[in-house]
Amino acid sequence: MLDKIYEIFHDRMIHKGKGVGVGSGFTSEFLMISFFLIAGILVLRTANSILFALGSILILAAILFTVPSVFRVEKENTDSINLTSFYVAISIVTILIVFFAGSGVLI
């Protein structure tokens, strides 16, 4: 996968400007991977439970297998109202659950 990565980006980004497009594609891919790495390290370092840490490593491994993740992110961020409402619903419930579970209140 990783040896073909230049070809993948070249094919997908060529219409966004020759050379510059591929460069920005690479930058964003780099940013994505380093974000997940950083997030993984942060969770690993701050979480005290081993289960949590193992889970984060597994998630990280799963993400590294889907390497050109940029196009996936782009697809998930189109201005479609369906996608936005999906993420809104997920976020609302995440916030509620985090606040309730984090405060130890079981309603």
Binding site: G23, S28, L31, M32, L42, N77, D79, I92, I95, F99
Partner: protein
């Protein structure tokens, strides 16, 4: 005369101007005169006013009869209260000056109507009210006015895409507005208060948060995410920036960052003892930062690119606030101010290019540096400014955010901030290269368009950026003192 008496005029004066301008919508010259005079007066009022507390309808602080009203504190404010301090002054001066610039740029357009200018004034008034309000319900009322006025500014472009963007903005606005209102209602039911200072004291006096207050916090946090354009709503927000006229997009991003700052401070003040709120803020902020900059790198339209950069920078501001120490919160607010200035330059440059070439697609325009060298130079400097290169202002605030992240024990976030700056730089410099330096242009420049106003304003703004970058303590120290005094 210049004591707290003048505080409500910061909101009421723009409203009166809006009503008059809307009334005279067809008479071109009088609309222009009123708009220019009132926008300049709107800048003067916050400078003249002294710090203080304004009691609306004259209702003073009274005894609360705790045995009958079951309130947890002995005395309360009866009416609506506005508080005006150093932080409010900085935000209001920034807001009014930028609004003056936008009004000047908008008045130069053909077919500009009084109704459009009225909407700019109403949004100015409502953001001022949001900054000043010490009352939760008043805060909500003006957030609603702001949402509708922003949608109107985008609808006025009258293209299918802008109508769609405004429609989505209103739909999600109803969700967030409803949840904020429900949260306020729950807090009012449980604690019996609407004033933020009193509410904060009552919550402290009441000990641990009740489950109902937890639901209220979650609902208000959802509203906070929407108003500041963070993660699940970033697409809606960037869509709005993209489809507005570019100079109005500069105004919209300014307004959402100011509302982000004001609302975060309100939330942190009310629920000051509740640390989970800060973690949730931080989590959504990090997500927004990454998604915003990744999306900005993919765009081929200058306006769309800048809108995603604006969203990512809002995430950076929220990250500073979410870290939760006094240092990081003041760094976040400082970054909001710096970022608003440099982002506004970029949006004004986009507006100039849109007027000159009638398009902002980066692959259609080329060779522009030979035709508009000054704009190219300023855009290059603004790119350096927004990605945190030393002599400019964002360097000072990003450095402080990184320092505060390290101090708070999250060194990884410092790395993330540096990565974000790199990504922002790559994204904007790509557009800069394609528009200004690439040989061969398919779009023709409009030879009649001079754009003197645009050029003046962007030069003034880049000078402001440089000034803040060289003397950061003028702005940063008052903010830091306020945040330390708030004790959030």
């Amino acid at each position: 005369m210049f004591n707290s008496t003048l505080i409500p005029l910061m909101v009421v004066f723009p409203l009166i101007a809006a009503i008059l301008v809307n009334f005279l919508h067809k008479k071109d010259r009088s609309v222009k005169t009123i708009a220019i005079i009132s926008s300049i007066v709107a800048v003067v009022i916050p400078i003249l006013t002294l710090y203080g507390v304004h009691l609306f309808s004259g209702h003073i602080r009274t005894e609360s009869f705790p045995e009958m009203s079951k309130l947890l504190i002995p005395d309360v404010y009866m009416g609506i209260v506005y508080a005006y301090g150093p932080l409010q002054k900085i935000l209001l001066v920034l807001l009014t000056i930028m609004t003056v610039f936008v009004i000047f740029l908008s008045l130069n357009k053909k077919l500009i109507s009084g109704v459009y200018i009225a909407m700019i004034f109403i949004s100015l008034a409502s953001v001022s009210a949001i900054i000043l309000a010490d009352d939760f319900f008043n805060f909500f009322v003006f957030i609603e006015v702001l949402t509708v006025a922003q949608a109107a500014l985008v609808i006025a472009v009258r293209e299918t895409k802008s109508h769609k963007a405004a429609f989505k903005y209103m739909i999600f606005g109803s969700i967030s507005g409803g949840s904020i209102l429900l949260g306020i209602a729950l807090l009012l039911g449980v604690y019996g208060l609407l004033n933020m200072t009193d509410l904060s004291n009552a919550i402290k006096a009441g000990g641990a948060l009740q489950p109902i207050a937890l639901t209220a916090i979650s609902l208000i946090t959802i509203g906070w995410l929407y108003e500041s354009g963070l993660f699940p709503f970033h697409v809606v927000k960037s869509n709005m920036y993209e489809n507005a006229m570019p100079e109005v997009a500069a105004l919209l991003q300014l307004q959402s960052k100011v509302v982000l700052v004001a609302m975060s401070i309100a939330l942190l003040r009310i629920f000051s003892g509740y640390s989970l709120l800060k973690s949730v803020m931080l989590g959504f902020a990090i997500f927004t930062v990454v998604v915003g900059s990744v999306m900005a790198l993919q765009q081929t339209d200058l306006r769309k690119l800048l809108s995603f950069v604006a969203v990512g920078q809002a995430g950076l501001v929220a990250m500073g606030i979410g870290l939760g120490t006094s240092f990081s919160i003041s760094a976040g607010i400082f970054h909001a101010i710096n970022d608003v200035l440099s982002m506004a330059i970029l949006f004004f440059v986009a507006g100039f290019i849109f007027e000159a070439y009638k398009t902002t697609k980066v692959d259609k325009i080329g060779d522009a540096l030979q035709k508009i060298p000054l704009v190219g130079l300023v855009m290059f400097l603004a790119t350096l400014a927004i990605s945190g290169v030393p002599p400019f202002n964002s360097y000072q605030s990003e450095l402080r955010i990184i320092q505060s992240a390290v101090q708070a024990g999250y060194a990884e976030l410092g790395v993330l901030v540096i990565l974000l700056s790199v990504a922002t730089f790559v994204a904007i410099i790509k557009a800069f290269y394609l528009i200004f330096m690439r040989p061969g242009s398919t779009a023709e420049i409009d030879p009649k368009f001079k754009g003197t106003m645009y050029k003046t304003i962007i030069v003034v703004l880049i000078a402001m950026c440089l000034f803040i970058g060289l003397f950061p303590h003028v702005i940063y120290d008052p903010i830091y003192n306020v945040i330390v005094a708030l004790g959030v």
